[in-house]
Amino acid sequence: MGTRQLLRGNEAIAEAAIRAGCECYFAYPITPQAELLEHMARNMPRLGRTFIQAESEVAAISMVYGAAACGVRTMTSSSSPGISLKQEGISYLAGSNLPAVIVNVVRGGPGLGNIAPAQCDYFQATKGGGHGDYHLIVLAPSTVPEAGGLTMLAFDLADEYRIPVMILADGMLGQMMEPVELPDPVDLDSLPAKEWATTGAAGREPNIVLSFDLAPERLKEMNLVLQEKYARITQDEVRYEETSTDDAEIVIAAYGTVARIAKSVVRMAREEGIKVGLFRPITLWPYPYEPLRALAEKVETVLTVEMSAGQMWEDVRLAVCERAKTPFYGELGGVVPTPRAILSEVRKHAG
């Protein structure tokens, strides 16, 4: 409580979830998020809360569905292949207007890939991965303290909008250690009651949690409820950070671990006289299209850097259009771009 600790990213997320009042945690072991699972295993029972190592990631997301339906704060965590397994369950959560937090500590893919950090699940997280017209709020921390803070925010946003929220981290962030001072635990009694939850129909009409209606007109109405919600979130919950963009000629667009590396590149480039800035989305959904569009009016180049073959790059191009050049530099397979390599790309586009 209010003390500084040296924590791994995975541990910071776990501890933040506990402080946010996560009552039920269900997960299946997978590298590189083992420390998150272990932190929950050590601490949740001690606090009288629920920890289950589920039989699979599919079972885990289904347990989340049950806990979420009766109104408790609940979370699961996994890494890329496990998140693939959860997609049907995620679609059900979204379609049923259930709050939940899902952590993806992204690793190299596709398939089994490897356990090194990557950013190749951006499409899966932001464009659906599950079926149907739905979105998750996707939060992308780039430091260990931010991972903790965004995890606590995730629970609040999930409850406020009745939506699953994803923390999109990566293997490097999950493993690295930094000093963190996490906020005090949330007072759960101060949170608004969930009138819709399946807490037992005593003195009221039954609450039914579902994502189903055979009649197209009624399913359309259910979908419109979701779309209206997403419109509100898009209006009110965009988060991003700009660094050194006031006089920039080249802006690096990056998120997560890559954005952190890019901050060094900004400093290194400026030492060479290249006016570089950084545009760092924090919400990958809703994506900060408007601020990036406005920034693109003032610069020559928006260089997207990702640990992928170019996934966020598509949203950058959507935002920027013809306003600036939109080159891309990516690393694949879990290779982490070095500051020097990114700087080398920057130099190519410098005037």
């Binding site: 009552e23 039920c24 269900f26 629920t50 289950i52 589920a54 039989e55 699979s56 599919v58 079972a59 885990a60 289904s62 347990m63 989340v64 569905y65 049950g66 806990a67 979420a68 339906a69 009766c70 109104g71 408790v72 609940t74 049907e88 369950g89 059900y92 399946t198 807490t199 037992g200 129909a201 005593a202 003195g203 039954p206 609450n207 039914i208 949690v209 579902l210 994502s211 189903f212």
Partner: protein, 253 residues
């Protein structure tokens, strides 16, 4: 000419824990009988206000319409895992899942086994009619050898597709479950036995004794291509030879 009942005692009526909704099941389908039995158990134990039902995917997808209780409709096969999350989150709730043979014994195999193995304090109702009704009559894991279905049009060949799976016997091997039983509904005596079994399975949850599984042999007249009366006879004569009736485990006493 209807008899004047004003001087008579009503001895049978709809359970009060069931809504007035008309069941969407086919004529003669046993889902309706089982639903009534569950409603009766909820009445007898007076637990409607804290019961939450979990509807699967299948013919009973609409199960959430039948009870005056909170309910969830969940992904195919996952009801036992959802029940786990719900019960752990709010242990005071009486949680039951209601699943067909595809939901429980095919796509949900892992979730069904592991909820039982953890000994979750829930009541699982497993409706075994040896076929997939909702999707038009495909083979189930419990389909009998030589039984014709849309995916075994020449009859189930064990060399290609294995044998009917006796899931309750598998669950009965586990250490945790407190009550595992197989029942049927093809005549009044079986219906009475099933009613007692379902009530016991809910009672054990109320008494926090642990995991109960009630497998119920049911009919699917539509996809078996039989009349309801023929279908009942098929269960009595043939199905019970493959799936024996009775209690496999009862550690609750």
């Amino acid at each position: 000419m209807p008899v004047d009942t004003s001087n008579m005692t009503k001895v049978f009526e709809r359970p009060r824990s069931l809504t007035d909704a008309r069941f969407t099941y086919c004529p003669g389908c046993h889902h309706g009988i089982l639903t009534r039995i569950i409603g009766r158990a909820i009445d007898d134990l007076d637990i409607a206000e804290r019961t939450v039902g979990i509807a699967p995917v299948g013919c009973s997808v609409f199960a959430y319409l039948w009870y005056r209780c909170d309910a969830l409709q969940v992904a195919h096969g996952r009801a036992s895992a959802v029940a786990t999350g719900l019960k752990r989150a709010r242990p005071n709730l009486i949680v039951f899942s209601y699943q067909g043979d595809g939901d429980f014994a095919s796509i949900g195999t892992a979730e069904s086994i592991h909820a039982a193995n953890r000994g979750e304090n829930i009541t699982v109702i497993f409706v075994n009619n040896q076929i997939y009704g909702m999707t038009g009559g495909e083979m189930a894991p419990t389909t009998l050898v030589d039984q014709r279905t849309t995916t075994t049009p020449e009859g189930r060949d064990p060399k290609l597709f294995g044998y009917p799976i006796r899931f309750s016997e598998m669950i009965a091997q586990l250490d945790a479950p407190v009550y595992v039983t197989r029942q049927a509904l093809y005549d009044t005596r079986r219906i009475n036995d099933a009613r007692a079994a379902v009530k016991k399975a809910f009672e054990y949850q109320v008494e926090e004794k642990g995991y109960s599984l009630v497998e119920v042999l049911a009919t699917c007249p539509t996809n078996w291509r039989m009349t309801p009366v023929q279908a009942n006879e098929h269960v009595r004569k043939t199905v019970t030879k493959v799936f024996p009736l009775g209690d496999l485990v009862d550690r609750g006493t």
